[in-house]
């Protein structure tokens, strides 16, 4: 299935996908989900440091 020469469509397709992915992750909802994890990890860490498990 592998081919020696890169396809003409490969570079623009990869770039287009990168752009779309960036748009996907940089939307407020997805950024918020990352922030949520950060907040959650911080809470867990504080709880363990303050009182032990």
């Amino acid at each position: 299935m592998s081919h020696a020469h890169p396809e003409r469509w490969a570079a623009p397709a990869a770039l287009a996908m990168t752009g779309l992915l960036a748009l996907y992750v940089l939307t407020p909802d997805h950024l918020a989900s990352l922030l949520r994890t950060y907040g959650w990890l911080r809470q867990v860490a504080l709880l363990i440091l303050a009182r032990g498990v």
């Binding site: 592998s2 396809e7 570079a11 990168t18 996907y24 989900s33 994890t37 959650w40």
Partner: protein, 649 residues
């Protein structure tokens, strides 16, 4: 913290460790040992018969799943569904396979294991592929952690999956459950039998949420195998399998009662095993039909949509059996004549149907007899003619008012759901497709479809068209969890696409794949709907009995009251419509839940009085609630919107 852990370890024989007492640890060890033994016996058997190691592993996963469901189904039919009978039947079946299938082939198994070890030493993978494997292991550990410490709490699990399991445990049988909930009465039971397997030896629901975890992992492994079958490189096949494995609606369903990911994993295993076995003669046609027939039976008996996947497996099997047999090496002769091939199809299809019916048809036959509709509660109509009356699909899949997809057309729903614009990655209703699905899966699917159409590659086209037909026939297919089967061609296409890319586009796409995997892993790290404080309570301050669904079910006033009241004095509980039944049982199913089905007030009173129920839980405003209020025997003891509890005077 280390001091506390060592103190807990020392106290293990009496007080337990991590909230699990010594007897439960022993039972857990037994469950894991028995499950591993069954899988290993089947894997060695298949290895001894000449399967490649990956094929043997996947075939063993299918055979073990079928073993678990078949033994419990038969015991359930006989009314002997007890932990002891399950253990004896399983050990007996494994011992027979060991004696007849493994021991006589010791030499070839040793040779196959040696060869596999040597081959494994020569395998090299790029660092990014190792990173994917590492992240997957981390995600599985995360799921095991939550499954281990948190009680079952997903909505459908509490409403009907787990009540079905609990009712089967208490009845020692798979007999019809005369519940007020139509889903408890009619839902197919194979997934619940898997949950029962984890419940029975423990007498606790500690591991019921992890019943589907091994199957979903083997599904990813089979997908890797399918990509390899279509000549993708090892690393690209890992990337392709990752598109499936790291889709949130797939990996999050390693925990819980939602069976969609497990169901599709078994379908993928079936496709893989059909692709990996070459039919030569009638005998091997039967052998080929066995694993695919088992997969078909399991998926058909798990969920209604499994019927379509089972039919697709049957169709793929027929195409495989119709294939022209290549002549033996060095011989020049025509392929098998048509009559031989037809005989092969007939033999294979007969075995496939028998196994499919054995493992998959029970719930539909039960529904036909009890409800008058095999597909109950769904109404089945053909060309406007109602064949089996029931609820219309629009009512079954009705959206709540204010749903984010209300008023959207199908393409808009697909776009919004596949981009996770409707809900969080956790959501089982509207979200969960994640970025890999749409950004790598969809291009992969399109790419594979185009190159296969150009080359007229029969098998890729059969798989793509088959899966798309199933997708088209699935109601509400814009919901990612109903469309998980699409990930099969998406993942394989993605693997082939990655192999095709060269230079910087290849590096870029691989980097994006790893980053997106990292994104979904990080974004779904906290458990949904459980706060840090609650998690702490469950991990550090609870034992296996108090890690119960009653602690997370709503309204908590009602469920925790019942939990407290019945902690030392198990009781019998009746319930009305729209009540989550599972938390009434307790984590160790100490309470007996009676299913009273009464069409009117008089028969409700008669049934209640005749039943041993000491408590009745009703939904405020329901008929059963109104009727119980007029009872002279029962008085309200707790009320919290939307439920009330009545106790016998």
């Amino acid at each position: 913290m280390i001091d506390r852990l060592s103190a807990q370890l020392l106290a293990l024989p009496t007080a337990g460790f991590l909230g699990t007492d010594a007897s439960t640890w022993v039972r857990l060890g037994w469950l894991l040992a028995l499950s591993a033994l069954i899988w290993m016996v089947y894997a060695l058997w298949r290895l001894g018969r000449g399967d490649a190691p990956l094929t043997a592993c996947v075939a063993a996963a299918v055979l073990s799943t079928a073993h678990i469901i078949a033994t419990q189904l038969v015991l359930g039919w006989l009314g002997l569904l007890t932990p002891l009978a399950i253990a004896l039947a399983s050990v007996g079946l494994a011992a027979v396979t060991l004696a007849l299938g493994v021991l006589p082939r010791r030499a070839s198994i040793h040779a196959a294991l040696r060869k596999a070890r040597l081959r494994a030493r020569g395998v090299t993978l790029p660092p990014w592929a190792w990173l994917i494997i590492f992240l997957y292991a981390a995600i599985v550990l995360r799921n095991v952690f939550y499954g281990w410490f948190l009680p079952p709490y997903d909505r459908d699990g509490l409403a009907y999956h787990l009540p079905i399991m609990a009712s089967m445990v208490q009845a020692h049988s798979v007999a019809p459950i005369p519940s007020l909930s139509v889903w408890v009465r009619s839902y197919p039971i194979n997934g619940e039998l898997m949950q029962l397997w984890t419940f029975a030896p423990l007498g606790l629901d500690k591991l019921v949420d992890l019943a589907f975890l091994p199957g979903v992992i083997f599904g990813a492994l089979a997908l890797y195998g399918i990509a390899r079958h279509f000549e993708a490189s090892r690393a690209a096949s890992i990337a392709g399998a990752a598109v499936f494995a790291f889709t949130p609606t797939v990996f999050l369903r390693q925990v819980g009662s939602y069976n969609d990911a497990w169901l599709v994993s078994l379908f993928i295993m079936g496709v893989y095993l059909i692709l990996k076995s070459a039919p030569h003669g009638t005998a091997s046609a039967v052998e080929l039909a066995i694993p695919s027939g088992l997969c078909a039976g399991i998926v058909a008996g798990t969920k209604y949509s499994g019927l379509a996947l089972a039919a697709l497996l049957g169709a793929l099997l027929v195409f495989r059996l119709l294939e022209k047999e290549p002549p033996p090496a060095g011989e020049v002769r025509d392929a098998a004549p048509r009559a031989t091939r037809l005989k092969r199809v007939a033999a294979g299809l007969a075995v496939f149907t028998i196994l499919g019916v054995f493992l998959g048809a029970y719930a539909y036959a039960r529904n036909w007899i009890v409800e008058g509709n095999p597909m109950a509660p769904a109404q089945i109509a053909l060309g406007g003619q109602v064949i089996w009356p029931g609820l219309e699909m629009e009512k079954i899949l009705a959206l709540d008012s204010g749903s984010p997809v209300e008023g959207l057309a199908w393409p808009a729903r697909i776009g919004a759901a596949w981009l996770d614009r409707l809900a969080s990655l956790y959501d089982y209703n509207f979200g969960g497709s994640g970025p890999l699905w749409v950004f790598l899966g969809v291009p992969g699917l399109v790419y594979w479809a185009v190159i296969s159409a150009r080359r007229r590659d029969k098998w890729p086209l059969l798989i793509i068209v088959g899966v798309l037909l199933v997708f088209a026939a699935t109601p509400d297919n814009w919901r990612p969890r109903f469309a998980v089967a699409l990930l099969l061609p998406m993942a394989v296409g993605c693997a082939l696409l990655l192999d095709r890319l060269r230079n910087w586009p290849s590096v870029l796409v691989r980097a994006e794949l790893v980053l997106m995997i990292g994104y979904v892993a990080v974004a779904t790290l906290p458990p949904p709907e459980v706060s840090v404080e609650q998690l702490r309570e469950f991990v550090a301050r609870s034992d296996d009995r108090s890690r119960s669904a009653a602690r997370v079910a709503q309204p908590d006033e009602v469920y925790t009251w019942i939990e407290r009241e019945t902690d030392a004095r198990p009781t019998t509980i009746a319930y009305g419509r729209r009540v989550d039944i599972y938390p009434l049982f307790g984590a160790d199913l100490r309470n007996t839940v009676v299913h009273l089905h009464a069409p009117d007030e008089l028969s409700w009173h008669t049934a209640l009085e005749a039943s041993p129920a000491q408590l009745v839980v009703t939904s405020l405003g329901s008929k059963e609630d109104d009727w119980t209020r007029t009872s002279l025997e029962f008085v309200e003891v707790v009320r919290a919107e939307p439920l009330a509890v009545f106790a016998r005077r």
